[in-house]
Amino acid sequence: MSATATLPARRPTKRAIPGLGPTLGFSLFYLGLIVLIPLAGVFFKASGLGVSGIWHVITSERVLAALRLSFGAALIAALINVVFGSIVAWVFVRYDFVGKRLFDAFIDLPFALPTAVAGIALTALYSPNGWIGSLVEPLGIKIAYTPLGVIVAMTFIGLPFIVRTVEPVLREVDRDLEEAAATLGAWRWQTVVRVIAPAVFPSVVTGFALAFARAVGEYGSVIFIAGNFPLVSEIAPLLIIIKLEEFDYQGATAVAATMLVISFVLLLIVNLLQAWVRKRS
C-alpha cells in the first residue's frame, strides 16, 4: 500500500502517438486549398445565376441533348459492364484457364492507360476503316462518330469498376451454402440465382454506380470517337469546354454545377449503400 502511495498519481496521457495536430492540420489545409475552396467556387458562381438562370441554361436544346447523351450512354455502358463485368468476375474467381493471370492484370488497363490514348485507339478500331469498324460497316452499323461510339468508350472506361468490386465479394461467398442448397434439391441455376446473386448484388450495385459516375464525367476517351456533332453525339463535359472557349463562364458553370450535384448524389447513395451493407453483415 505504502509503495503505491509514494508513486506519483499516473495521469493517463491524452494521446500516446504524436502528430495529430500537424498531420491533420496539413491534411485539412491541403484539402481545403486544392479541393474544397475551388469546388465551392463553382457553386458560388452558379448561385450568381440563380435557380431560374441555371434552369434556363440546362433546359436549352443543346445542353439537354448533351446531358441526355452523357447520362443515357453512361447508363447503357454501365449496364453492359454489369452483365459482362460480372461474367468476367465469375470466370476469374471460379474457373482456371490459360492466360487468366494476364487478363487479370489487364483489367485495370482503363485506369492506367491515359484517356486520350484510349480515345484515339478506340477511334482507330471502330472507325469505318478500322479493324472492327470495317467488319460491322457492311451490316449498316456505324460505331465511331455516333452515340454508339460514346457507349463503347464509356464501356471501356467503366469495366474495371464492376470487376474489381464484384470479384472480392464473390470470392468470399460461402461454398458451404451452395452445397447446402444443392443437397436440399436446388438446381445449379436456382443456387446461383437464389444463393449467390443476393450475396453479390450490393457489390454489383456499387460497381454500377462507380462505373456510371465515371462514365458521366468522362471526357478524354469519348471525344475522339464521338465525333462531337451538336445535338447528336456531343457530351456534357465537351459542352462545358465549348462554353468556356466562348467565354460563357456562367453557362459552363451552370452545366458543371448540374453535373456535380448529380455526381454528389450518386456518391452519397454509394456510401449509404456500403454503410447499409456493412451494418447488415
Binding site: I17, P38, V91, A105, G217, G220, Y249, T253
Partner: protein, 301 residues
C-alpha cells in the same frame, strides 16, 4: 504419378472405391457452361481491352520504325514530354506528403467527422476532369476572383505551367491517401505504441516502424498516382491553353497531332504512354502477387 505408385509399398488393403472427383460436383457448372462463360469473358476482354492496346502499337508502327522515331525528334514533342514529367514530379510528391499526413491522422487517432473527411478525400474521383479544370478557370481566369492578387504577386497561373500542375494535383489527389488509409487501419497502432514506449521519438517511430510497414502499399499508390498524373487529359486540357511547346503535355500533344492527321506521330507519342501504362500494370501485378499481405485488403482499385 505411376512412378510413385511403383515405388510405394504394395497396399495391403486396396481402397474399394475411387476417390471422389470434383468433376460432377453440385457446386459447379456443366463443362459446356463453364467454357461458354470463359469464352464470353475472354472475348469481351480481348475486344475491349487487348485490341485497343494492340492497335496503339500497330498504328504507331504502320509506316515502320523511321517515322515512329522521327516523331520524337520534334521539339514540340520533346517539350511536351518534359512538361508531363515536370507536372508529375511536382504533383506526385505533394500528394504523397498529403497521403501520409491524412492516413496518419485518420488511422492513428479518433476524432469527430473522420468519415466525412474520408469521403471528402475521395471527392476528386467523382468530379468530371473537365469540371476539375473549370474550377481553376473560375479562380484564376480573366474574371477569376483570385486572379487580381495572383497576377500581381505570383504570376500567370492559367494557361501556364502552375495551372497544369494544379489541375494534375486535383485529379490525382486521392490516390495515395486512399491506398494508405485502409492499409494503416488494418495494421493498427500497436507497433507504433511499442516503439514510443521504448523511447523512440515520433519521427523515429514513423520512419523506422510505420514506413517499413507501409512501403509496398505506398509504392502501389505512387504508381497509380503517377500513371494518372502523366496521363491526365480533361482537366489539363481546360487550363492549359494548348500553347505548343509551352503548355502542352503529352496527352494534349497527342490530341493536336491527331487532329492534324499526323496519325503516326500521334500514336507514337501515345505508345510511350501506353508503355508507361503497361509498366504500371506489371509493377502493380507484381506487388499484388509478391506483397499481397502488405497491401490493403479492401482496395477498390
Amino acid at each position: 504419378m505411376s512412378q510413385i505408385e511403383n515405388t510405394a509399398p504394395a497396399d495391403p488393403a486396396p481402397i474399394p472405391f475411387e476417390p471422389l472427383k470434383q468433376t460432377n460436383s453440385v457446386v459447379t457448372e456443366a463443362t459446356w457452361v463453364r467454357w461458354l462463360l470463359i469464352a464470353i469473358g475472354v472475348a469481351f476482354l480481348s475486344l475491349f481491352l487487348m485490341l485497343p492496346l494492340l492497335s496503339v502499337f500497330v498504328e504507331a508502327l504502320r509506316k515502320g520504325f523511321g517515322p515512329f522515331f522521327d516523331a520524337f525528334s520534334d521539339s514540340d514533342t520533346i517539350a511536351a514530354i518534359k512538361l508531363t514529367l515536370l507536372a508529375a514530379a511536382i504533383a506526385v510528391p505533394l500528394n504523397l506528403v498529403f497521403g501520409l499526413c491524412a492516413a496518419w491522422a485518420i488511422t492513428k487517432f479518433e476524432f469527430r467527422g473522420k468519415q466525412l473527411l474520408i469521403t471528402l478525400i475521395d471527392l476528386p474521383f467523382s468530379v468530371s476532369p473537365v469540371v476539375a479544370g473549370l474550377i481553376y478557370v473560375l479562380i484564376f481566369g480573366a474574371q477569376g476572383w483570385a486572379q487580381p492578387w495572383f497576377g500581381d504577386h505570383v504570376g500567370k497561373v492559367l494557361f501556364a505551367v502552375p495551372g497544369i500542375v494544379l489541375a494534375t494535383i486535383f485529379v490525382t489527389f486521392p490516390f495515395i491517401a486512399r491506398e494508405l488509409i485502409p492499409l494503416m487501419q488494418e495494421q493498427g497502432t500497436e507497433d507504433e505504441q511499442a516503439a514510443l514506449s521504448l523511447g523512440a521519438t515520433g519521427w523515429q517511430t514513423f520512419t523506422r516502424v510505420t514506413l517499413p510497414n507501409i512501403k509496398w502499399g505506398l509504392l502501389y499508390g505512387v504508381l497509380l498516382c503517377n500513371a494518372r498524373a502523366m496521363g491526365e487529359f480533361g482537366a489539363v486540357s481546360v487550363v492549359s491553353g494548348h500553347i505548343r511547346g509551352l503548355t502542352n503535355t503529352m496527352p494534349l500533344h497527342i490530341e493536336i497531332l491527331y487532329n492534324e492527321y499526323e496519325f503516326v506521330a500521334a500514336f507514337a507519342v501515345a505508345s510511350l504512354l501506353a508503355m508507361l501504362a503497361m509498366v504500371t500494370l506489371a509493377a502493380k501485378s507484381f506487388l499484388e502477387w509478391r506483397y499481397a499481405d502488405q497491401l490493403a485488403a479492401s482496395r477498390r482499385h
